[in-house]
Symmetry: C2
Subunit: 137 residues, 2 copies
């Protein structure tokens, strides 16, 4: 089996925040929503049920960890968690903090408004805040 | 704590297929997509991370079970799994079989085309097929 390599589209759309025991933790470079993407670092996965049972349990715990960090930092109205993958085939899980005044509310975020890249300082601050929240949890 | 009661909107949009150890398994009455909804039968849940750890593991296993049944029956191009809940606050998890010729592909299904209620015979046949797939798995 080949080694894990991050999908180039995911790499282009995000910045890296952390490497957890199984998932790469990425932040979407989109000022519209606090939006993490978890990518299990195993080659050849497409769907959640492709994960080995132990890995599935680990990923589930990492989804909870990401959710709690977003909740603690941003106090969203709701979290959205989704594994879709119709366009990017590599298994990845969206964990998105949603607000009643965000540009897509109450719809799902995909395809509603174009991504709005963050100012470099804002992106760096958001990554630092997330790393702090992960370390504290 | 009050008893679990299915959200009226979910009840209105679906038919019941099964009661698993934790989740009610519902079929969306929408001919556009084979679309299951799992509702953990615990009161007061909004997000995946509200589940107690044991319940989260059970729900994860039930998501896998639903995914495999849809895959076996419908041979989709991709499965979409999502817990959104911006409009219906009760925690529910979508497990949707997606096809390159479905009305929303490759977008997520929500809000693209109105639900197309199934003919009663088709709905009954779909429920029977799902129950057969669940029993066989």
């Amino acid at each position: 089996m080949s080694a894990f390599e991050l999908d180039p589209q995911l790499a282009a759309d995000t910045v890296s925040v952390a490497d957890w025991s199984l998932c790469r933790v990425l932040l979407m470079n989109d000022a519209n929503y606090p939006w993490l993407i978890l990518v299990p670092a195993r080659p050849g996965l497409r769907d959640l049920h492709d994960l080995a049972p132990d890995d599935l349990a680990t990923v589930t715990g990492e989804i909870v960890r990401a959710s709690r960090a977003l909740e603690g930092l941003f106090k969203p109205k709701k979290l959205n968690v989704a594994a879709l993958g119709n366009m990017v085939p590599q298994l990845h899980i969206h964990v998105i903090a949603r607000f009643e005044d965000d540009p897509a509310w109450p719809k799902p975020v995909w395809g509603v408004v174009p991504a709005q890249p963050c100012e470099p300082d804002d992106l760096e601050a958001r990554v630092a805040a997330l790393r702090g929240a992960f370390a504290a949890a």
